[in-house]
C-alpha cells in the first residue's frame, strides 16, 4: 500500500461493534493540516458525532484512538498515541496520551486512528493486521488479568503484536478503569477502560508491516536528531531521568512540602528516604525500558521481594504519581509494598492515581469516624496498611462488597454515604488529584481546576520551572535554561503566586503542553527542565516529517484549538465555572510538612480563574466566544453551542 501523505496515511478505521461493520474513512488532508492529530483530531470527530450528555457507559458513547503525523518517525519522543471519549468518571471529555509501541504499530499497519462506536453483545477483541480487520470472540479472555490476556493474545497471533486492553476493572465498569498498552504503558485517567468494558471490547491487537513511514525530508530530520543527540549527551537532567525516571522527584517533592501525604493533609513524609526513587532502584530496580526509538529510556522496571511483598516484573514499575499516591498519600513506607500495589492495579486494569486517592479518601473518613466497619463490610481501615489496600484493589476491580462502592470513585462514594464525606474527596469534576500539592504550586491549582479532564498534572509546566529568582530573559541556571523564552515566558514568578504574570505563563505553557498532546509527543524529550528539544526544534520535526510549511505560531494555535475544543465539549455537557475549582481543603492551612500553615488565597484564585477565561478568549462563564472560535477556525463549534443554548 502506498502512503499518500508524508507522515500520515489519511486513513481512519471505523468500527461499529453493534453491527460488526468496519469501514475506512479518508478525511480530507486539510483536516489533518488544521487538527493535526492526537487530542485535537479525536476531538474533531467526538464533537461532530457524539450527542451532548450521552451516557459514557452506553453503546452510544464513542471511543477514538488517534496518532499524529509525527508518530512513528525515527526520533525520540514520537511514540505516543491518544484515546478520547466521554469520561465515565468526570463526565467531561476524557483525553489521554499513552507511550510505548502500540500507536507506532497502528501507523505501521497503515492507520492514523480508530473510531469505535456501538457495543457488542458478547465479549470481543479487535485484531488489525494491516488492512485485515477482524472482530474476534473474547469469551476466553473475559475475567482474566491483563497479564494473562497479553500472553493468550500473543500466543493466538504473534509475540510481536502490540496489545491495548482494559482489565477486569474495565469489564466491570469501574469508573477509574484504565487501558494498558503491552502491560507497561497506560491511558490511566478518566475511566477509558470502563468505556472499553461497556462496549464488551477487551482488547485491540495491532500488527503492521509498513515499518518505514514516508517522510518529507529525511535528511532534515537527521539534522534534528543530531540536535537531540547533542542535547541529551551528558545532560545531567536527562541522564538522571534515564537512571531514576519520574521517581527521581520523591525526595525533592517531600522536602519542598508538595508531596501528598495522608490524603493531602500534609505535604512532607517522615519516611521519605525509605521510598525514594534511589531506594527503589537499589532494592528492586531492573534495567529501564524504552518506548519506540527513544534515547531517554525512562520506563521503570522492578522485580523482587522483601519476604512479605513481591513484584513479578511483568507489569513495569511505578512512576512518581503512583509512588506518591499509593505511598505517602496512604502513609505507606515500604517500597516493595507500593510496587506490589502498582502491579495489582496494572494487572486488574485500575488507574493507580484514582485508586490511591479513593483509598486515601476512605481511610481518612474511617479515621474521622465517618465510615465504619458496618459500611466497609467489616474491614478496618488504617494508614500504612498495604495488605488491606491490596485486598481492596481486588474488590474494587471485581466490584465486590465495599469495593463496589469505591469502584464509583471517591466523589460518588462520598455522595453514597453522605455525612459530609464529600469534603475529603480530593478531586476536580470527580477526577481525583495527581501527586502534586497545589498549596505549594498555585499555578498547578489553576491547572487542576481548568483542566478539561478534571484534575490533571500534565496541563502545563509546574511553577518551580520558572520560580528561580533572576532575570530569566538573559540569565538562566541549567535547570531553568528552559527555552521557555521562545514562548515569551521570561519570569521569574514565585510558586505561591497567582498573579496575572502567573496566569499568562500558565496560558502559554498550557498551549505548548497541548501541542504535545495534539502531536502525541512525549514531554520527557522536551519538558523545560530537559530542554533536549526546544519548541522551535519541535517545529522542525513537524516540518521535516510532514512537509507542511508550519511554524511555532501555527503549532501554538493548534494547541490552543485543542484546549478550546475540549472546553466547548465540556460546556455542551453542562459544566460551568462552579466546576473549575479545587476542594476547600486547599484554601485552608496545611496541617504539616515543609509548607505547614500555607494555603491558597481563594479570592486571588477566583480572580485568576476569570483572568484565565479572558486570556483564553472565553466569556465570564468560561464559554468560548464566537470571536475566539472563528479565530481558531472552528466556528462550527459556535453553532453547536447555540443549538444547546450554552
Amino acid at each position: 500500500m502506498e502512503q499518500e501523505y508524508c507522515g500520515f496515511w489519511g486513513r481512519i478505521l471505523r468500527v461499529d461493534l453493534t453491527t460488526g461493520a468496519t469501514s475506512v474513512e479518508k478525511p480530507d488532508s486539510k483536516i489533518y493540516r488544521q487538527y493535526m492529530g492526537g487530542s485535537s483530531l479525536a476531538s474533531y470527530f467526538l464533537l461532530h458525532e457524539l450527542p451532548p450528555k450521552t451516557d459514557p457507559l452506553s453503546p452510544e458513547n464513542i471511543l477514538i484512538f488517534t496518532t499524529s503525523p509525527v508518530t512513528g518517525s525515527p526520533i525520540s519522543g514520537q511514540a505516543r498515541h491518544t484515546a478520547v471519549s466521554r469520561s465515565p468518571l468526570s463526565g467531561t471529555i476524557a483525553d489521554s496520551q499513552c507511550g510505548g509501541w502500540w500507536g507506532v504499530e497502528l501507523k505501521f499497519a497503515g492507520w492514523d486512528g480508530i473510531i469505535i462506536k456501538g457495543a457488542s453483545s458478547q465479549p470481543v477483541y479487535l485484531y488489525i493486521e494491516d488492512d485485515q480487520v477482524q472482530i474476534l470472540s473474547a469469551d476466553t479472555l473475559w475475567g482474566k488479568t491483563t497479564g494473562e490476556v497479553q500472553d493468550l493474545l500473543h500466543e493466538a497471533h504473534s509475540d510481536k503484536a502490540r496489545i491495548l486492553q482494559c482489565g477486569p476493572a474495565g469489564e466491570n465498569l469501574v469508573r477509574f478503569a484504565m487501558i494498558t498498552s503491552d502491560l507497561r504503558d497506560f491511558h490511566g485517567r478518566g475511566g477509558l477502560g470502563a468505556v472499553m468494558g461497556s462496549k464488551k471490547l477487551r482488547a485491540v491487537v495491532v500488527k503492521g508491516s509498513h515499518r518505514k513511514l514516508k517522510l518529507a525530508d529525511p535528511d532534515g530530520l537527521k539534522v534534528v536528531r543530531d540536535w537531540f543527540n547533542r542535547g541529551v549527551k551528558d545532560h545531567p537532567a536527562i541522564s538522571l531521568h534515564h537512571k531514576l525516571g519520574t521517581p527521581k522527584i520523591m525526595i525533592s517533592q517531600s522536602l519542598a512540602g508538595v508531596l501528598p501525604t495522608y490524603n493531602f493533609q500534609d505535604g512532607s513524609f517522615a519516611q521519605i528516604e525509605e521510598i525514594s526513587g534511589e531506594v527503589m532502584n537499589d532494592k528492586i530496580g531492573e534495567k529501564p525500558e524504552t518506548c519506540y526509538a527513544c534515547a531517554v529510556a525512562c520506563k521503570r522496571n522492578v522485580k523482587g521481594t522483601d519476604g512479605k511483598f513481591e513484584v513479578s516484573g511483568k507489569y513495569g514499575g511505578p512512576e512518581y504519581e503512583t509512588l506518591g499516591l499509593l505511598g505517602p498519600n496512604l502513609g505507606v513506607d515500604n517500597i516493595v509494598a507500593i510496587a506490589q500495589c502498582n502491579e495489582a492495579c496494572n494487572a486488574l486494569g485500575l488507574d493507580t492515581i484514582s485508586s490511591g486517592m479513593t483509598l486515601s479518601w476512605a481511610v481518612e473518613c474511617f479515621e474521622r469516624g465517618l465510615l465504619t466497619e458496618e459500611d466497609t463490610g467489616g474491614i478496618k481501615l488504617e494508614w500504612n496498611d498495604p495488605m488491606t489496600y491490596l485486598d481492596l484493589l481486588n474488590k474494587i476491580a471485581r466490584r465486590e462488597g465495599f469495593g463496589d462502592i469505591l469502584a464509583e470513585g471517591s466523589l460518588r462514594a462520598a455522595k453514597h454515604f453522605g455525612k459530609g464525606m464529600e469534603k475529603y474527596s480530593i478531586q476536580v469534576k470527580g477526577q481525583e488529584f495527581p501527586a502534586h500539592e497545589p498549596r505549594g504550586k498555585w499555578g498547578v491549582a489553576l491547572g487542576y481546576a481548568a483542566s478539561p479532564i478534571g484534575a490533571d498534572h500534565i496541563q502545563a509546566a509546574h511553577d518551580p520551572c520558572f520560580d528561580t529568582p533572576g532575570d530569566h530573559s538573559t540569565e538562566y541556571n541549567w535547570v531553568d535554561e528552559t527555552d521557555l523564552r521562545q514562548l515569551g515566558v521570561l519570569g521569574p514568578v514565585p510558586s505561591e503566586d497567582i498573579s496575572p504574570a502567573k496566569v499568562r505563563n500558565f496560558v502559554y505553557l498550557q498551549q505548548i503542553w497541548a501541542v504535545h498532546h495534539v502531536l502525541d509527543w512525549c514531554i520527557f524529550t522536551a519538558v523545560p527542565e530537559f530542554r533536549a528539544l526546544s519548541p522551535n526544534q519541535l517545529t522542525e520535526i513537524v516540518r521535516t516529517v510532514t512537509g507542511w510549511d508550519t511554524s511555532l505560531f501555527d503549532l501554538m494555535k493548534a494547541g490552543e484549538r485543542a484546549i478550546t475544543m475540549s472546553r466547548a465539549f465540556n460546556c455542551l455537557q453542562g459544566f460551568t465555572p462552579d466546576d473549575d475549582i479545587v476542594p476547600d481543603r486547599f484554601f485552608e492551612p496545611m496541617r504539616g510538612g515543609t509548607l505547614k500553615g500555607h494555603a491558597i488565597d481563594r479570592e486571588q484564585f477566583l480572580e485568576a480563574r476569570q483572568l484565565y477565561y479572558g486570556m483564553m478568549g472565553w466569556d465570564e462563564y468560561g464559554v468560548p466566544t464566537r470571536a475566539k472560535l472563528e479565530e481558531l477556525n472552528i466556528g462550527w463549534i459556535w453553532d453547536l453551542l447555540q443549538k444547546k443554548n450554552v
Binding site: S252, A460, C465, F524
Partner: protein, 79 residues
C-alpha cells in the same frame, strides 16, 4: 564539627568516591548552608532545595553540630 550530607539526583557527582550519594566531613562551627555548599563545590544554581535534619531551609541557615543535610536538584515540574 562533623556532619553528613546526602546528595540526590545529579548532585551525586559531588559524592566522595567510596560513598555514592554521600559527603561526610568537618565544617567550621557556625557554618551556614551556603558555606557547606561552597566547601563541597556545588554550584548554587544547580540546587533546588537544601534541608537540615529533614526541614527545608534557606541557604543562610546555620548548620548545627551532627546535622544531617539533604541537597536535591530535581524538581516536580510537570511531567
Amino acid at each position: 564539627m562533623e556532619i553528613q550530607v546526602k546528595l540526590y539526583g545529579s548532585l551525586n557527582r559531588f559524592s566522595q568516591p567510596d560513598t555514592p550519594g554521600l559527603w561526610q566531613g568537618e565544617i567550621p562551627q557556625g557554618s551556614r548552608l551556603q558555606d557547606l555548599i561552597a566547601q563541597i563545590g556545588i554550584p548554587e544554581k544547580e540546587i533546588w532545595i537544601a534541608a537540615i535534619n529533614g526541614a527545608a531551609n534557606a541557604f543562610d541557615a546555620e548548620i548545627p553540630d551532627g546535622a544531617k543535610v539533604i541537597i536535591v536538584t530535581a524538581r516536580g515540574s510537570g511531567g
